[in-house]
Amino acid sequence: MSLTQKKRHIVLFLGPALTLLLLILVFPILYSINLSLFNADGASWFNGSSSFIAFDNYIRLATDTSFLNSVWLLFLYIFATTAIELSIALVFAIYLDQVIQVPSWLRTLILLPMFVLPVVSGLTFRYIFDPDGGILGQLYLLFDKEAPDMLGNQLLAFVLVVLQDVWRMWPFLFIIIFAGLKSLPKDPIEAIKLDGANFFQTCRYVIIPGIKGTITVAILLKIIESLKAFTEIYVMTGGGPGESTTILSMYIIKQLTDFSEYGYGSAASTLLLIFGVALTMGLGLYQNRQKQQKPEVII
């Protein structure tokens, strides 16, 4: 194939996608980064009077307790949900692979929450834990007692938000790990069993190391998803009592909708972007190094 012919092919196949992405993804992000260097807010953006203030927005963010709080909460949220979901998923995947077998329709039931819209999931959990007219409230009334206000407690609200995500997303990790388990070669497992290993030793020395790559993929995918978390928290607590469930994405949207602080919000969202890309790229490179494959292959 001649060079120009090959170039033509590349343009033909990759052109549309790249053009589209450039337009709807790259351009808005650049616009946002640009905006973060101005003190644009509702009034000044519309009448074009925002002034260039370089990194002042970022400096302001560094001392803004609400912002720092939202970043911390994001970290906490990602860590808590990933750790808990991974543990549960791992245990069950191994259980359903090694210990007992269940028909696939039963597995589908486990997966069901995964397909529930985040809106519905958030609202349902809010309904269940509502101490007034919700499920929790009425259960306590059966015993003539007042229900605890879990969604009104700053710590518990966060716990419930994590719980909601665990319910919905651990099956996601479960499927990935389960698929990985199914593709493990049987021989090493048989071998170690013949050597007299019990169940836990088998897991520890053969199975888990065997699916290390899968686990990394699962964690990576879960983190990408967690960075996007917004809807379920928004409808469940609206940011929580005070700001106890205002993770970074909610903070940014509040800057946009409640305060019309376009420049400031763009600065925060640029930081989120950098954080997100850095984190996932870091994990991606780590995984590539683990697999020792050419970087062209995308997981």
Partner: protein, 424 residues
């Protein structure tokens, strides 16, 4: 085959064209505006034009008006919530400049309603849906002999509608019997409604925030007492009420869970709705204790509209006495005293008499150009106090500090504008 396609295209285009000539109205969504929407045909037939009435959540209207006007203005008529009139007034036509304006605004409109449409001496439209909080209580419980007896023994005065907030507190305490009955229902979700709640309690303690020249005259000590008082009232509220909006408050009352509430009259018909309420026929209404906040929406025509005459016609139609009579059953709060005094309507809405009286005692929200920032500050500190992040003392202190900052900013902007205009 092609003909069919052409026909479809033609029909959809003409549909689009028909709607582009429509009168576009932006309003807040509640029962009564939904009723207006379902009755658009009345107006459309007489004028031969379509009306597109977009209803959005009342808390989002001001922002939407701002962004719409900044983008050129796609609507011909807006409903504007009272506290935002100062800021948005530059976009609107003064009422006296309306096409076919009545020589003077009808004297039938309530004084408080007209005040709500005005800023700096001019009215910017017609008042619609004039509101003031009503006090609603469980008359059946208040008149129960056993309750009356117990109350008298405990508090040494008769159980009846509270004349001030201290009596309201006593009633709240008396009736709080968890887990099924409580004495108070707050409004605590961070939003405009919470600001109104805060202003209610502040005004009831005689605390005023600004004077006419936008100086901060808030008495920090009295404010602290006001906040502390509200916090104590929260002890008599159901669990989970730290983040309540109108919906939760009304649901609690309709379930029979709280014995007294302050609420907008628009919600009162819902209490007597057999499909939604368990306390039908058990309520009484009265003037709120303390000083309740008045609010009125204004139908305003933007200068950007090219259908001003049509918009004015529609606004007059909406606020007319005859149309109003049909809307009141759907929760419209009359801005005309004739409607409030109408015997037919009074029969169905027995609280109208109390409503008329309440208007005399009401107080208004701060007339401040950057009202949203003021409101945000108030509801921010107030809700933080309620969930325990701030003490009432800190709440008062922080609020005063922030208000002073805001006033300084506004004054600076005003001076900058004045000197810029001087230079021209």
């Amino acid at each position: 085959m092609y003909l069919k396609i052409l026909l479809i295209i033609f029909l959809s285009l003409s549909y689009q064209v028909a709607y582009s000539k429509a009168l576009k109205v932006l309003a807040f969504r509640d029962n009564h505006s939904e009723a207006v929407k379902s009755r658009l045909a009345e107006f459309e037939k007489t004028r031969g034009v379509k009306v597109q009435l977009d209803l959005i959540a009342s808390s989002t209207v001001a922002t939407k008006i701002m962004t719409d006007q900044m983008a050129g203005g796609s609507y011909d008529l807006y409903t504007v919530d009272e506290p935002f009139i100062p800021k948005l007034s530059p976009f609107f036509l003064k009422y006296k400049d309306w096409p076919k304006a009545e020589k003077s605004l009808s004297s039938d409109f309530l004084t408080a309603a007209l005040a709500g449409t005005s800023f700096a001496g001019s009215s910017f439209g017609l008042p619609v849906n004039s509101n003031i909080y009503m006090y609603v209580y469980r008359k059946d419980l208040f008149e129960d002999p056993k309750e009356k007896h117990n109350f008298l023994n405990r508090y040494h005065y008769s159980l009846s509608q509270p004349k001030n907030i201290r009596e309201m507190r006593d009633i709240a305490e008396f009736f709080t019997r968890p887990p099924r009955l409580y004495g108070f229902a707050p409004f605590t979700k961070k939003s405009e409604g919470t600001t109104i709640e805060a202003i209610w309690i502040l005004s009831s303690f005689e605390v005023k925030l600004f004077d006419a020249e936008l100086n901060v005259i808030m008495d920090e000590d009295k404010a602290r007492s006001a906040f502390a008082f509200y916090k104590k009232l929260m002890k008599f509220a159901p669990v989970g009420s730290k983040s309540w909006h109108h919906s939760e408050r009304m649901a609690a009352y309709k379930k029979g869970k709280v014995v007294q509430i302050l609420t907008w009259p628009g919600f009162l018909p819902g209490i007597e709705n057999p499909k939604r309420s368990l306390v039908i026929g058990k309520s009484g209404w009265g003037v709120p204790p303390g000083r309740a906040v008045v609010g009125t929406w204004t139908l305003a025509i933007p200068k950007s509209s090219n259908k001003k005459a049509l918009a004015a016609d529609f606004a007059h139609h909406w606020t007319s006495e005859s149309f109003g009579k049909k809307l009141v059953p759907y929760g419209m709060n009359p801005s005309r005293s004739a409607l409030l005094a109408d015997p037919e309507l009074n029969a169905k809405n027995p609280w109208f008499a109390a409503l008329l009286k309440s208007f005399e005692k009401g107080t208004v929200r701060p007339r401040f150009p950057e009202y949203k920032k003021v409101s945000d500050n108030i509801s921010n500190h107030f809700t933080n106090m309620l969930i325990g992040n701030l003490t009432p003392e800190q709440c008062a202190k922080n609020l005063k500090r922030d208000l002073i900052k805001l006033a300084a900013e506004v004054r600076k902007a005003q001076m900058a504008k004045a000197s810029a205009e001087e230079k021209l």
